[in-house]
Amino acid sequence: MLFNSKIFVAFIALTLSVYYFLPDRLKVFWLLGLSWLFYGFWEPQLLTLILLSTGVDYLCGKRVAQHDGDRSRQKRWLYLSLATNLGILGFFKYHDFFVGEFVYALNWFGWAVDPERYLLHLVLPVGISFYTFQTMAYTIDIYRGDVKPADDFWRFALYVAFFPQLVAGPVERAPHLLPQFSRPFRLSQKMVYEGVFLILLGFVKKVVVADRLARYIEPYYEDLAQNGADAAMAMLCFTCQIYVDFSSYSDIAIGIGLLLGYHIRPNFNLPFVVPSIPERWRRWHISMSHWFRDYIFIPLGGSRGGTVRTQINIMIVMFLSGLWHGASNNFVMWGLLNGATMVSHRILKTPLRSLSGAAKTLGLQAPYYYVCCWNTFCTIATINIFFRCPDWEIAKSYVREIYLSGIGDYVVAWQTRAELNVELKWGLTWIVVVFLAHESQRYFGLKDRILADRRAWTVVCIAMFWTVVTFGISGPQFIYYQF
């Protein structure tokens, strides 16, 4: 079920209207039933996967805790959990990719193998990358002794399938979410105000900004890039779209969680205008970044093994992050490029610091900051070409046209700017709007001010509601649904 659908509005109305009147002991069952309904709405058979993951991890978590002190037995149960989750993920998400690449390699070496004989063309279960990571984290945390296993199967099942964050995160962690299902239901007016505000804000971001940007740039990515200026504008618009689209999902998820009395951890902390790539990763998709940090980067040695080892660890993490996003060479490249920029930043840390110091001395701190932000934005946008382009050839054509075909296209675009495609002009306008909203939040704490003032809240919420009604709660799915 998509958040931006009519049925979801009816679903949430039904959920809340019954939920508040149920006794606490039944609330978990109600939410669990609805979460499974939510997940199985379009493809009921996919429920079996989430049930399998839930059952196995519940059992493994229990067994790992039971054998406390017996590391080898604990490991066995941990491996069962990892094998099950990674097996599900690998089979449904990566089978065709790896088989396709293997067959390609065989053909390259001279064996004539028809890939179609081995490809399964499986439907990717929605949200599989999110809930498998969430359940794996649970078992690993028990193994490490950071968390106790869930006492109650139904509460654990709800932790895995909690519908607001099930299909596109934030990836929750057991110590934060699981205990909330055991507490009595509590709700404050502050939570309601914030919840409603976030839901409306999320819908406005999705149906007004993200979907419009998606529509503007769609035609540009259907074929090879023909013009550097157009390709560059489409590239910038996509980077804005993906931020607005993904953060809107998180806003709605957190908002619904608050109305149900639960706190879901934030997934974004103003990542749109940042002065460096590492800073961006600290603020973007926080729950997943933390997952990779805690379960991949640190076990690999983190930054304790010297400079070279740290850089290698970063590259491994970013490679896996790319692979997590999608089973294709584009995403692998996306991950590696992100890793390369992170590594470059670490290498250039000292000269960059000197440059920053010089700017400060000259009183050019603010311009220097925004030059860095623009540079970072363009770098991210360039890397995102591999995220957005449907195939390798189109991605390459984008890089070629934008960076390697001279400045002729840009000069012509500037000279004929009045005749520029109106949709791209709108796209660029949206980037400016998002930038201003973003910076208003950073400097003035706009959201907190609105939440603190009831009149402002009422006016803004009515305006947002009218906007959502006018634009309509429908449209393409969220970008991160595909993962």
Binding site: K6, I7, F41, P179, R186, L187, I298, V469, T470
Partner: protein, 368 residues
């Protein structure tokens, strides 16, 4: 070591919870109320809808709404032939020309036309239901083989609002091609007028907002001239046709996809249409307006043609209109201005003589 995950924040008190739940209830009522208030301008004659009406289906609803019943039957005899159907019917008959010829001949009939893209039987039934029919009226509806594909709803890519515009909820619920989830999605679309006219309202709002920004020409209400420009559809049609010939093999109707069972979406619609005409005490006539011979030969499977012939022969209300010259179509199926003149004149003659006609034998490729 990984950084510890922070525990959940402390909870509010019981008293705060009561106040919180009360606030949710108040907000829920406020949201429903606001939704109803905001939905008021969404109607067939909504202000923004009038500026943004951009398709034939919505235009037909508007035409029905503003049709003056007093002026409708001022002519001698006072009978109306309601032409209701798809774009083929829309492009085959020139309402103005037909009415002029009928007037010249002193006929007791005048025509009113309600044609729309994808206006096959199911959607046309929705139009017929709303017609102010009287005993002695005629309902003329065109049928075509391609509308009886098993996957017609999916194939035609009709958006939900088009179905909302004409179908009743139980008819939407009965769409067999759709999964339960898809049917539920359309069933919860209330208020119905809000969803039916949302596209037009949005377009009108967009025109006004962008006018304010661009300071261009003031938006104008979209009137008859916008919706009935044959030249426009002829131009678009020619382009589409060229494309269709080349690559759009999905337009070909295969025997296995051809479904004349009573459960097929348009077959169900045809039954509804028959009931609606009967209820209005009007005579129903199904007309077969043949597409180009090239279309029949290349887009309709041989088995389809055979079954289609058999089905047509069994329909008591069916009338065959003559095959037009291949050059008298602007694309594979739609008559151009020459074909339209010819078919309009034939329609007037048919109204006087009621000849049943016969299917034209397929002759393709043509002799040089």
């Amino acid at each position: 070591m990984p950084r510890p995950v922070p525990p959940p924040p402390p909870q509010p008190t019981v008293a705060e919870t009561r106040a919180g739940v009360r606030l949710v209830a108040v907000l829920a009522f406020a949201i429903v109320g606001l939704m109803l208030v905001f939905a008021i301008p969404y109607s067939v004659r909504g202000p923004m809808v009038e500026y943004g009406r951009s398709n034939g289906a919505s235009w037909n609803r508007y035409k029905l709404k503003k049709m003056s019943r007093k002026k409708l039957r001022l002519h001698e005899g006072g009978r109306i032939a309601w032409l209701v159907g798809s774009s083929i019917l829309r492009d085959s008959f020139d309402e103005k020309l037909v009415n002029r010829l009928l007037e010249e001949e002193g006929s007791e009939y005048r025509v009113r036309k309600f044609g729309q893209t994808r206006g096959a039987s199911a959607l046309s039934a929705g139009v017929v239901r709303r017609l102010p029919m009287e005993p002695g009226d005629l309902v003329v509806h065109n049928v075509a083989a391609e509308n009886f594909r098993r996957d017609w709803v999916d194939f035609s890519e009709l958006p939900g609002w088009r179905l909302q515009l004409w179908l009743k909820p139980h008819e939407i619920w009965a769409i067999q091609e759709w999964s339960l989830a898809e049917r539920l999605e359309e069933m919860v679309a209330v208020p119905r007028d809000f969803y039916s006219f949302h596209e037009d309202h949005m377009e009108g709002t967009r025109l006004w907002l962008t006018w304010a920004i661009r300071q261009g020409e003031r938006p104008e209400k979209r009137t008859k001239s916008y919706h009935l420009t044959y030249k426009k559809s002829e131009l678009i049609g020619r382009l589409k046709s060229a494309r269709r010939r080349g690559i759009e093999s999905s337009y070909r109707v295969e025997d296995a996809d051809f479904d004349l069972s009573p459960e097929q979406f348009n077959m169900r619609g045809l039954a509804t249409l028959r009931r609606a005409a009967k209820h209005g005490q009007a005579e129903l006539v199904l007309v077969d307006i043949p597409p180009r011979q090239e279309y029949q030969a290349t887009f309709l499977d041989e088995g389809v043609r055979k079954r289609w012939d058999e089905w047509r022969a069994e329909q008591p209300e069916l009338v065959y209109f003559p095959q037009q010259l291949e050059d008298d179509y602007y694309d594979m199926k739609h008559p151009n201005s020459r074909g339209r003149r010819s078919l309009s004149r034939y329609f007037v003659s048919w109204l006087n003589h009621r000849q049943v006609g016969a299917p034209t034998p397929l002759h393709w490729p043509p002799d040089d």
